[in-house]
Symmetry: C2
DNA sequence: AATTAGCACTCTTGCATGTTGAGTGCTAAT
DNA sequence: ATTAGCACTCAACATGCAAGAGTGCTAATT
């Protein structure tokens, strides 16, 4: 399927892809010759291009046009021609600097990660908050807001805070609430949702209600709105491939939809995954590519981050950035969540 | 400036606008005649249309095309021809029902409000969390996450929760933290940021640091990312006026930008404001209109909500929905925040 | 056997031209 | 005040033509 190409073919394929990524114009044999500095004539290039087309790495939009890469071409490029892309030292430095300047807070970091990815890869970027598999309860608080309305605040491992209002049938004062909270803290702190539910205790009706709500809040449902940060949508709409309305809409729609998010690739932490042209799974994203990575601590708390752009995306920069940002976020998560 | 029109002119203007909103096509004198059921000839309509054009309420894109409304035309339509638009009873019922089924939580409500507005007005909708002017501190909590890392959780009036991690120079255990928290609670609960800062106390270095951070968290900065919920961007991109790339981008860009949000109209609670064609203030939104309202309790806690769509938007539905959702949200806020 | 010069061929792009139909604006009649 | 009627304008579409870009192939060259 992905046969070996001669060195010259590789070099030609590489140049076609790089120039097409840069210019969005089909690359002609003559243009390639000028850019490459190869010591051949345009006819030779043409012959090689024809071979690459037969093998499925290139196409041309019409008879008398230059060549553009196919999805298979991009795939070969990413896997065989790119090698290990590393972001230049100075860029890594600026990024790390920004992270260390930010406040010690997940939301800030996510925002920052999204901004950095969007800027360096000219794609739309997106990052989900790390999901803790079995979050452990750190602290419960019950606060009286109004006579018959209280606020339940849960602090989970890693400083995740969940909250919910509870309406009461009859008023309770803060003293009674604090007592209940103290009791629940004593019983449940240090446990996860499963352990809390299965622990059998003598509880009042009210305590049972609170316990139920706690368990609900601790069980990681699907992503909540606040748990995803996005950036760079405007930038990616500037690309010529989204000149037509329906493609642009498909992109925006997929980018915003939670369904899309939940169906995303399930790669392990530490690897960068590249999805080219929707790759069968997302039909409406046939002209888009994604570069994705999982970050955090495997088996404990992980999130997803990456960029979405046209198939004609600068893969080297995107992969480099995504990898580096994922590494940074992983260490951040490690620091906050502890071992 | 906005002279009185004859009844017939009003009726013609109204029909032109309504049909243009429905079809996105210039309205010709003949087409209007068929739709209106008026007992005149097309020539009469043409004459009246010419007058309306002279007065600035209509234009036509080229000589032999039908008429389309100008911004001034829309303005007249909204202010003089629409009257008090009220959403049909059954729609109001479904919406209210949805709200009462949702959990007792601001985030949920905002999400719901955004969805409802997007659906009924085919525009992009947006809602900001209610900003409390001078939030009062309800509760402080200090939780040890790791030996040298603690989490500060602040509960403010109305169940707003703010949090921040604090890195310590030397370890503190939970007992010491709870003591500090209890002390700070005793001193500061019930006060607002200004009062907290100006209260002079004998404080340790650590307590001073915590107090500073508290004051920071309580002072309402500009909108945080999580404080805005959006919906319906995809739908609005379906409209023909956003067929060209740059207009679409301008819309998306404005819709996402926090700068735009902060500069939005400052209307009092209870009124619905209609901004047509950017109205000078937003040049890049010249083909967009907004229908906005403030909700909450004036002088205490208010947020902004509304829809953004093409100038060719269904103003009646949009205004009706925005008004009703704003009312609902206001009562919700009232319930939660108390008097 | 690999490379290349050269040429025929294809297809886009741009421009000019003509035609049709929709719709207006105006004038003169009602 | 209204309207019939007609001249006029303009977008939209089709057609034809010329230029240019680029390929594919063949035959000559290294």
């Amino acid at each position: 399927m992905m046969a070996d190409l001669t060195l010259r073919q590789q070099s030609i394929l590489g140049i076609v892809i790089r120039t097409y990524i840069a210019t969005a114009q089909p690359v002609s044999s003559k243009a390639l010759l000028e850019l490459s500095g190869l010591e051949f004539s345009s006819a030779t290039i043409r012959n090689e291009m024809a071979v690459l087309e037969d093998l499925g790495y290139l196409t041309h939009p019409h008879t008398s046009a230059g060549r553009i890469p196919t999805d298979k071409g991009y795939r070969y490029f990413v896997e065989r021609l790119l090698g290990d892309v590393v972001l230049p030292l100075d860029e890594r430095k600026t990024i790390r600097h920004q992270f260390h300047q930010a406040r010690l807070e997940m939301g800030q970091w996510m925002q920052l990660a999204a901004t950095v990815m969007a800027r360096t890869s000219r794609g739309a970027s997106l990052i989900t908050a790390p999901q803790i598999e079995q979050p452990i309860l750190k602290h419960i608080e019950l606060i009286s807001t109004q006579p018959k309305l209280i606020l339940l605040v849960l602090v989970l491992q890693g400083g995740v805070v969940r909250q919910q209002m509870i309406a009461l049938r009859e008023p309770m004062d803060q003293v009674a609430l604090s007592q209940t909270a103290a009791f629940l803290n004593a019983q449940y702190t240090g446990l996860n949702a499963v352990a809390i539910r299965s622990k059998s205790l003598e509880l009042s009706d009210f305590e049972i209600e609170v316990m139920r709500i706690m368990v609900g809040l601790m069980s990681s449902e699907s992503h909540h709105a606040a748990d995803v940060v996005r950036d760079g949508l405007t930038g990616v709409l500037r690309e010529p491939e989204f000149g037509n309305q329906s493609d642009a809409r498909a992109l925006v729609s997929a980018f915003e939809s939670p369904v899309f998010l939940n169906g995303l690739i399930d790669a392990p932490v530490g690897t960068v995954q590249v999805v080219i042209g929707g790759e069968g799974r997302w039909r409406e994203l046939s002209s888009c590519s994604m570069v994705l990575a999982r970050y955090g601590t495997e088996g404990f708390a992980t999130g997803l981050l990456g960029v979405l752009g046209p198939t004609r995306m600068p893969y080297d920069r995107a992969i480099g950035t995504v990898r580096y940002v994922a590494e940074l976020m992983s260490t951040m998560v490690g620091e906050i969540y502890g071992e």
